[in-house]
């Protein structure tokens, strides 16, 4: 942070500002008198932070496909802040869940926290996703990249697993009507499919057919 390599692009500024919109919305809606927030704040803030984490994670995962399909290189530096903010909201989401489930009467019940987190499958997969994101957040810096070399990329590919677990977490949470989590699941599936080498090459070739023509010809031969 201290020595900036370059000034931020408008896109980067948008990400850093936009990432705080869900938090500001909580404050704003509370002040406005939003009923769900006033009446059952724990549940509502848990839902809101969870949704924010999911959307930010999907946005982070959307950067590479946007570059593949449209050649938007400028979105690539956004992967890191979007991923970090996703982790931030995920951690907040879990923290509120712990307080919600662990504070019984006027005392803290750690057994209740344990049961809430590990005995129900929806919570367990959510926790697993957060535990996957934790080392990724810790190693999202130049120093770790240098230390881990090739392994850094392998480690960070775990984000795909985290994304899938988050979708399962959502599906297992809702009551009967799974359409909303399925929409997010479909978006995730799309973002992952674009990364498959064959699909990736298709899109790259589509964008610059001349440059790659010989190879396509060779492939077709």
């Amino acid at each position: 942070m201290a020595k900036r390599k370059s000034s931020w692009t408008p896109l980067q500024i948008a990400v850093h500002v936009g990432a705080f919109v869900p938090l500001l919305l909580i404050v704003w809606n509370f002040w406005q008198g939003n009923m769900a927030l006033l009446i059952n704040p724990f549940q509502d803030v848990t839902f809101r932070t969870g949704k924010a984490a999911l959307i930010l994670l999907l946005l982070s995962l959307a950067c590479t496909p946007l570059n593949i399909v449209f050649g938007w290189r400028q979105v690539l530096p956004l992967r890191k802040p979007l991923g970090l903010y996703a982790f931030m909201y995920g951690a907040l989401h879990f923290l509120i869940f712990i307080v919600d489930n662990g504070y019984i009467g006027s005392s803290v019940d750690l057994m209740a926290v344990y049961e809430a987190t590990f005995e129900k499958r929806f919570a367990l997969v959510g926790f697993a996703a957060l535990m996957i994101l934790l080392p990724l957040a810790i190693t999202s810096n130049q120093w770790s990249m240098r230390q881990l070399k090739k392994n850094w990329k392998r480690l960070h590919q775990l984000v795909y697993a985290a994304g899938i677990l988050v979708i399962i977490h959502f599906i297992w949470l809702v009551k009967s009507d799974i359409r909303e989590p399925l929409v997010y699941g479909a978006i995730l599936a799309l973002l992952l499919v674009v990364r498959i080498p064959l699909v990736r090459r298709f899109f790259v070739d589509l964008r610059s057919p001349k440059k790659n023509k010989p190879r396509i010809a060779a492939d077709n031969a």
Binding site: M35, I39, N40, Q43, I104, G105, E115, R121, W172, D177
Partner: protein, 342 residues
Amino acid sequence: MTKIKSSEITPEHIYLSRRKFMVGVGALAASMAALAACSPQQSSAPPAATSTPAKPAAGQTPPTAAAQAAAPAAVSQPAEPTTIVAPTTDELGDPFNTFEAITNYNNYYEFTTTKEEVAMLAKDFTTNPWQVQVGGLVNNPKTFDIDDLRKFEQEERIYRLRCVEAWSMVIPWQGFPLAKLLKEVDPKPEAKFVRFETVYRPEEMPGQRSPWYNWPYIEGLRLDEAMNDLAILATGLYGKELLPQSGAPVRLVVPWKYGFKSIKSIVKIDLVETAPMSLWMAAAPNEYGFYANVNPEVDHPRWSQATERRIGEFGRRKTLPFNGYAEQVAYLYDGMDLRANF
């Protein structure tokens, strides 16, 4: 339904002080009577008494007989005995939830699955005229107009409502025991269950246009459960007619079962021989059973039922077996495996 202007709705704090008011008037009258003894100056009984009601503190010295006698003269209505203080808590000492919370945080999927949006979407829902058809295995099938139902002696019932989603409220309902209605239609001996049906009106209920659920909403009780005195048909809460978001004009309230059993906006009640298939049983048979008794020992497959969040409280509280009504209803399930019959 006759539209109630918001100005006509009794604010909750006034409802809560409905008898405190009378106590206050009584106390005021008493002090005025005392004053009158010293001074000839007369003052009219001010309605301002509502804003500063005398606190009916426990152990308060009762006004003198003379003052009590003066009270009815000072106000136009007969004063209630000053020793009666209207409850503002349930029998366990927990306060009512606010009218605002009760009427703005609703699970009513016929309108929307978003709890805080039900009130807005339901505000123009037609609840008058309204008829409830009661039939099936009965000797005396009958269609009740909503006004007929209001002729049953209305009682106040303060019940905890425990949602299957692990939150709860304390609600002062007005209504009458379901048993009274069932006795009027005279169930035949072969009737073993009661089947309830919510109105199907997709043009007014946007949620019913969703094909995800098998509308209309159906719920059921075993006949002996339905005859238990705790099971009521509610027509009001907080001293006024139910609002659409609360299931107007008439709904079931079975306080020892999860909230979804307390079916709203009922148009049909049938006595039947076999257990009816409820909407939730059809939607997720492994998650929602026929009985759905509040039970901290039997978790929902996806979350714990051991604790609940009482709306308005910071810490959760432990969920009580049968939602705290075990004494009144546990006998209904003697010898039954409540884990299998969830």
